[in-house]
């Protein structure tokens, strides 16, 4: 389900809750991780991100966004974090504060956008794999199981595990080729 930004905005503006849910599910996790760089507590970071999405929906008919959906969301989360921190840091030197934060924003946002992109590539690659291949790969890379353990768990031969891991590796290489780190 790939959609262009403007199409997504258009559908959200029209009140399409399904498109909105699609956007939410796509970005929620990385946005929370991004917010938790500013707000140490992950629960609060989640609250900030949820609030952002709620408000986004609430004012959807007034949306006038000229940037990409991604940058819009990251900018909003950043602002949301600042606002949250603002409530707790009154009476400080605003200029220094904002300058510092603005510089940090540029660095962190770039980092987060890269992370988002990477996350997308990896998830898309996982999605494009045959079911068995994906299962094997996840068990090995994400749950740390040995080939033999996976073979036993799935009642397959170690050779099959090896072949599927190779297939996964090849797919990742193909898809990550275009992802360039700055």
């Amino acid at each position: 389900m790939k959609k262009r930004s403007w199409k997504i905005f258009e559908e959200i503006r029209e009140g399409n809750l399904i498109t909105f849910e699609y956007v939410f599910r796509k970005y929620y996790s990385t946005l929370c991780n991004y917010a938790s760089k500013y707000i140490r507590d992950l629960d609060t970071a989640e609250e900030v991100v949820q609030e952002l999405f709620y408000r986004l929906w609430e004012k959807r008919d007034k949306l006038n966004i000229n940037v990409s959906l991604k940058s819009y969301l990251y900018r909003s989360v950043y602002n949301g974090c600042l606002q949250y921190l603002n409530h707790r840091t009154i009476e400080i030197k605003y200029e220094d504060y904002y300058r510092k934060q603005d510089k940090e924003y540029n660095d962190d946002a770039l980092e987060a956008l890269k992370m988002q992109e990477l996350n997308e590539i990896i998830n898309n690659t996982l999605d494009s794999m045959p079911e068995r291949c994906r299962k094997i790969f996840l068990l090995n890379r994400f749950e740390g199981l040995k080939y033999r353990e996976i073979a036993e768990k799935l009642s397959l031969s170690v050779k099959t595990i090896e072949a599927n891991m190779g297939k996964a590796l090849k797919l990742f290489r193909r898809n990550l080729k275009n992802y360039v780190e700055a």
């Binding site: 009140g15 399409n16 990385t30 609430e58 008919d61 605003y94 200029e95 080939y147 190779g166 590796l169």
Partner: protein
């Protein structure tokens, strides 16, 4: 393994190696393969990097997306705004049920209101003046709900006038000053606002009208929906203004332009955003939002750049931030109360 050919990439073997499943013999084969060509060497480096990237995703903090979405969805479905404009096809079943119940409730409320209004109209109206005039104070904004349910926020020093039978057959009012309208939709009953120079006609939408824009022209800024703006003396001369645009009459020409002022609605929202904004512009904005007069002590000061966000802050606290940012001295002339002088050497 001995039948290994140079040009064919053996992904299975490489995956074993990266996963730490290879024994010494296999590791030896891999080393040989790497050394056999620069291309192979680079490839191995790349796939090692891929492996690390996958690991970095794995290390992301886990959040429960399902329950988070459930939270947000519930909030959306519970708020009025989430329900009414949502096309049915985009809604889940519970939402449909909720919509149905809301509509049923709304219908019964409307019925009661309608009866009350009918009684009011027949028995009470004849004994009242023909016009209602509402005026806001010189230094505060106010909000009012019109008989048709439309909301109006009046900026300071603003007057509106409407007939007492407003809502029956027509919805017309006169405006002087600045106001924001959130008009209840009624296709059979257009909402019309008259100012000194223009006529604004809508069905249901939200927009801001300022009759005190430069040269005392009327300016209309549309937030949502469409607004028809016409010359008062010649209603055939009209244009349609879309969200995000400002329409105005200049001579006999109606024109519209995109609104670039992020703080256009600050008088109502009390939300101000400055990003590297020069102090001159900041001062002008503060003057209109806080209905005060601000004088900058020196020319250099006008070029100081302020970056700050204020949400419903008092003028005092805004000034404090400016003072803190630039080490200026601010002299608030208390005697007149509506005048601020910012003294300092600039940045």
């Amino acid at each position: 393994m001995k039948r290994y050919r140079e040009n064919k990439i053996r992904w299975g073997l490489l995956a074993r190696y990266l996963s730490g499943e290879s024994d010494n013999e296999e590791a030896g084969i891999i080393k040989k393969w790497i050394n056999s060509s620069n291309e192979n060497n680079i490839l191995l480096k790349n796939i090692k990097a891929d492996w690390e990237k996958i690991n970095s995703i794995k290390n992301m903090k886990k959040v429960d997306v399902d329950s988070a979405w459930e939270n947000v969805k519930q909030r959306i479905l519970n708020s009025d705004k989430g329900i009414i404009p949502v096309p049915e096809r985009a809604m889940v079943n519970t939402a449909k049920l909720f919509l149905y119940r809301s509509l049923r409730l709304a219908a019964s409320i409307l019925l009661v209101m309608g009866l009350a209004f009918g009684i009011y109209k027949v028995f009470v109206t004849p004994y009242l003046d023909n016009n209602t005039i509402v005026k806001s104070g010189s230094d505060n904004t106010s909000r009012l709900i019109l008989p048709d349910g439309s909301q109006v926020y009046l900026n300071s020093g603003t007057l509106i006038r409407y007939a007492n039978n407003f809502g029956s057959g027509s919805r017309q009012l006169f405006l002087k000053g600045e106001a924001y309208f959130d008009v209840t939709r009624d296709n059979d009953n257009p909402f019309t606002i008259t100012t000194n120079d223009v006529l604004v006609r809508v069905l249901g939408t939200s927009f801001n009208i300022n009759t005190r824009a430069s040269n005392n022209k009327t300016e209309v800024f549309v937030e949502s929906g469409n607004v028809q703006l016409s010359q008062k003396d010649n209603p055939d001369n009209n244009i349609l203004i879309e969200p995000g645009y400002i329409g105005a009459l200049s001579g006999k020409t109606l024109n519209k332009s995109k609104n670039n002022d992020i703080n256009y609605m600050s008088w109502k929202t009390k939300y101000l955003i400055f990003r590297e904004t020069d102090l001159q512009t900041v001062a002008e904005k503060l003057e209109s939002v806080y209905n005060t007069s601000i004088t900058l002590g020196s020319q250099e000061m006008a070029n100081c750049k302020l970056t700050a966000t204020f949400n419903n802050a008092s003028l005092d606290s805004v000034l404090k931030v400016i003072e803190g940012s630039f080490n200026l001295q601010i002299e608030n002339i208390v005697k007149t109360k509506d005048k601020v002088i910012i003294v300092g050497n600039g940045c």
